[in-house]
């Protein structure tokens, strides 16, 4: 099982990532992906993401390992951007390869739910009249809680 996790400022090419994952996960019949973008709601000018690098890498690796325990996966690719991102920019990418589609979909959604809730990122929103830190959201906690068992 190939696993690659990167947290960096650079943009990424989803198509190239899918092709690379497929090349590493030879027998894969299914690749599910998720790409998240900065939404330009309410005149948002930019979003700046801060993280705790040592902890972020460890936590994401732990969640990916948990996904591998739950589903028969052939490969996982996670990219999360940090720094200042403008509306429309790609912010997160998860791709999961498996023999069959249900495992690929479920594991991809599982990793995304954890990333959106538990990964140690903090977001600051930037508007014309200033900046504000984003509060943790209860709805995302619910999404992550559904995987508990």
């Amino acid at each position: 099982m190939s696993t690659r996790i990167d947290i960096f400022e650079d943009d990424f090419d989803a198509g190239a990532e899918i092709a690379a994952l497929k090349a590493q996960a030879g027998g894969a019949g299914a690749i599910a992906t998720f790409t998240g973008y900065v939404r330009g709601e309410a005149n948002l000018k930019a979003l700046t993401l801060e993280h705790y690098p040592a902890m972020t890498a460890r936590e994401i690796a732990r969640h990916v390992a948990e996904a591998k325990r739950r589903w028969p996966l052939l490969g996982v690719r996670v990219i999360h951007r940090v720094g200042r991102l403008v509306p429309g920019a790609q912010i997160v990418f998860v791709a999961v390869a498996s023999a069959h589609r249900a495992a690929a979909f479920d594991a991809c959604a599982f990793i995304m739910d954890y990333l959106k809730v538990h990964a140690p990122f903090w977001k600051q929103e930037e508007y014309d009249d200033g900046v504000r830190w984003v509060d943790a959201k209860a709805s995302d906690d619910d999404a992550a809680a559904k995987w508990k068992r």
Partner: protein
């Protein structure tokens, strides 16, 4: 002991990390937070309401009653907002 601050905790304190030789009175994360709060200024603001803070010891989320030792890396931050 290495201390790390993130998001508005970092902003209020005015730095992202510092080294500390903790006094022998500091047994838990809560003791550490109270000692930092007692410094006043930005520290008092950052640690004014501990219910708004989260902490990690050696990159693991912990409760405030978790013990700390001098060679730990302790981080304080707001609840994570995720990616």
């Amino acid at each position: 002991m290495k201390l790390l601050y993130f998001a508005w905790v970092r902003q209020k304190i005015g730095r992202s990390e510092e080294m500390l030789s903790p006094s022998s009175q500091i047994a838990t994360v809560r003791d550490l937070a109270e000692a930092l709060k007692a410094r006043g200024g930005g520290y008092a603001e950052a640690f004014g309401d501990l219910s708004r803070l989260r902490a990690a010891v050696n990159q693991d989320h912990v409760a405030l009653d978790t013990p700390v030792s001098p060679d730990d890396e302790v981080a304080f931050f707001p609840p994570v907002t995720g990616g």
